[in-house]
Amino acid sequence: MNIGAADLEALWLTLRLAAVTTLLLLVIGVPLAWKLSHWQSRWRHGVEVLITLPLVLPPTVLGFYLLLLFSPNHASGQWLAGVWGEPLVFSFTGLVIASVIYSLPFMVQPLLASFSQNGKRLTRAAAALGMPPHAALLKVLLPASRPAIVSACALTFAHTLGEFGVVLMIGGAIPGETQVVSIALYQHVEALEYGAAHRLALVLLVVTTALLLLARWLGRAVSEAQREERFMGVPG
């Protein structure tokens, strides 16, 4: 298969963006979900809605507000550019920040569900064996939540791969800086280059499918078949 240098660059950029976003979200998402699962305040619902918002909000709306926030024409954008050293709009850093917000629910929701289901029981059991709360999180709750963590990472990664609306709004299509695969694909179609569009689309399809399969395999919990094998001697 023959993929152009520009498209390869777009692919590499997209993978980098997805990887950085997933990593950042893992670091943010675990403590956030842990805190939320414990938090008994009326503000909890508000915060949960806020986190879920990117799930239902049209990406262009999110992108529009971020564009305003990052814009050097506004005080906020000037301040951010001052802190970071360069304008965030139309930059890779800007894309990362946008992706983190955009994919936040895909990381936090599975973790929150898993923590809420097992968290209380397991942290109580850990505390009743003398384990302090941080040890209960790291050594008990995280290993028990492995399937949820793997699937949260896979969803976040895949979701960031397919990002389009937000990127269009705040990133534009600067090759090597902000031109991700979905944008490159769109541009090929616009230019009636169906061959190149086909190749990119196929790559994205294959990568995403492989990723989800890998996640299923990594995140597999102990299955019913294994139980059966152990107790009945029937190979699962």
């Binding site: 097992n118 397991l122 850990a126 505390a127 009743a128 064996l129 003398g130 040890a135 050594k139 102990v222």
Partner: protein
């Protein structure tokens, strides 16, 4: 400002007390009947009573895992004072839950290692290996905990708590799913030996009174949110055996003194009589006082002293009471000196032997029927 003297004295007393002291402890379950409890720093205490009586609630409140108000102190450390409580992991205690609550996504060995790592009194490697072997966990060490059966999970949970070796050990129906004979013949004697070596305050909750009378000499009783005791186990046993007349058989606790032990055969003295127990798991010292259980279905009765027989044990007993059971059987309450035990025989045997309350007979049972040694 004037200091209220009685209150002050009470506070000092609770600090002086070495063991566990609970004063005016109130939860949502017992708003009208505050719990009062004073237990020594070492000893094994049973906790029993009807379901919904508040046993689990009491244990959770002691561990600081549910909202409560009042005073709890152990060894001079205030665990709870009013509504403010010390965090659970800072209390020198461990609690095993009814559902085992093993740590998922990890193996049995991982679970045990975590308990060992956070223990305040870690056990030596040889002792850990021996306990694992004795609890039958060795073949399970590499298994993910999700693959365990209910009984296996409970054995691992109890072992995990032994590895933690806390000063106060709370057990909430910890072996309910484990085979009853395995519990009585193997696990409980091993637990008793463990606590003899590592003294702790143990509260053992169970619906199975046999477990309690084998482990403990005193017992707490909870009913409809009210906490009573500690009471002598024998008093509670009487009452429970009358309650459980429909059950197939029951165990009675008997205490005796060790005369000698060789090659698994233990010789005991009970009053004037000598008893024999074979297939004995534990190691005992000569002169030591020990307790065992005798199943009511394992005892036969004779009118006269029997001659030589392969049934090694024969006790002169007084028949105190005859209670009819369902299914054509009767339960006899027999006494040797101060100690009492139950024997179930058929109604036909009773008529043939013409048994009468107040008369003296001979009770026979095999050396293999002494459980819990």
């Amino acid at each position: 400002m004037e200091l209220s003297l009685p209150l002050f004295r009470r506070a000092i007393q609770s600090l002086d007390c070495d063991g566990l002291s609970v004063q005016g402890l109130v939860t949502s379950l017992n708003a009208d009947t505050p719990w009062e409890l004073a237990l020594p720093a070492q000893g094994i205490f049973g906790l029993t009573g009807p379901s919904g009586g508040g046993k689990s609630t009491l244990l959770a409140a002691l561990a600081g895992l549910r909202g409560c108000a009042g005073k709890i102190g152990f060894g001079g450390v205030a665990w709870q004072s009013g509504r403010r409580g010390l965090a659970t992991h800072r209390r020198d205690l461990s609690l095993a839950f009814q559902d085992s609550s093993l740590f998922g996504g990890q193996t049995v060995a991982d679970n045990l290692a975590l308990a060992h790592r956070y223990s305040r009194r870690p056990l030596a490697p040889e002792e850990r290996a021996e306990l694992i072997e004795c609890f039958g966990i060795t073949p399970l060490l590499r298994q993910p905990v999700e693959l365990l059966s209910g009984g296996e999970a409970q054995r691992v949970a109890v072992l995990r708590q032994l590895f933690s070796n806390a000063a106060v050990q709370l057990y909430d129906e910890p072996l309910a799913a484990v085979d009853r004979l395995q519990v009585i013949r193997k696990l409980l004697p091993r637990l008793r030996a463990f606590w003899a070596r590592h003294p702790a305050l143990v509260i053992w909750t169970s619906h199975d009174f046999d477990e309690i009378q084998l482990l403990a000499t005193q017992c707490l009783w909870m009913e409809r949110g009210a906490l009573n005791g500690p009471l002598p186990v024998r008093a509670v046993a009487r009452r429970l055996q009358l309650d459980s007349l429909d059950r197939e058989s029951c165990f009675s606790r008997i205490e005796a003194r060790v005369l000698s032990q060789e090659e698994g055969l233990l010789t005991l003295s009970l009053g004037d009589a000598t008893l024999y127990a074979d297939r004995v798991a534990g190691r005992y010292k000569v002169g030591q006082s020990i307790a065992f259980l005798l199943g009511s279905g394992d005892i036969g009765l004779c009118l006269e002293q029997p001659g030589l027989s392969s049934i090694l044990n024969c006790l002169a007993v007084e028949l105190r009471e005859i209670v009819p059971l369902a299914g054509g059987r009767v339960r006899l309450r027999l006494a040797v000196g101060e100690q009492e035990f139950s024997a179930d025989i058929s109604r036909l045997s009773r008529e043939r032997l013409q048994l009468r309350e107040g008369e003296r007979y001979f009770a026979q049972f095999k050396a293999s029927s002494l459980a819990g040694l």
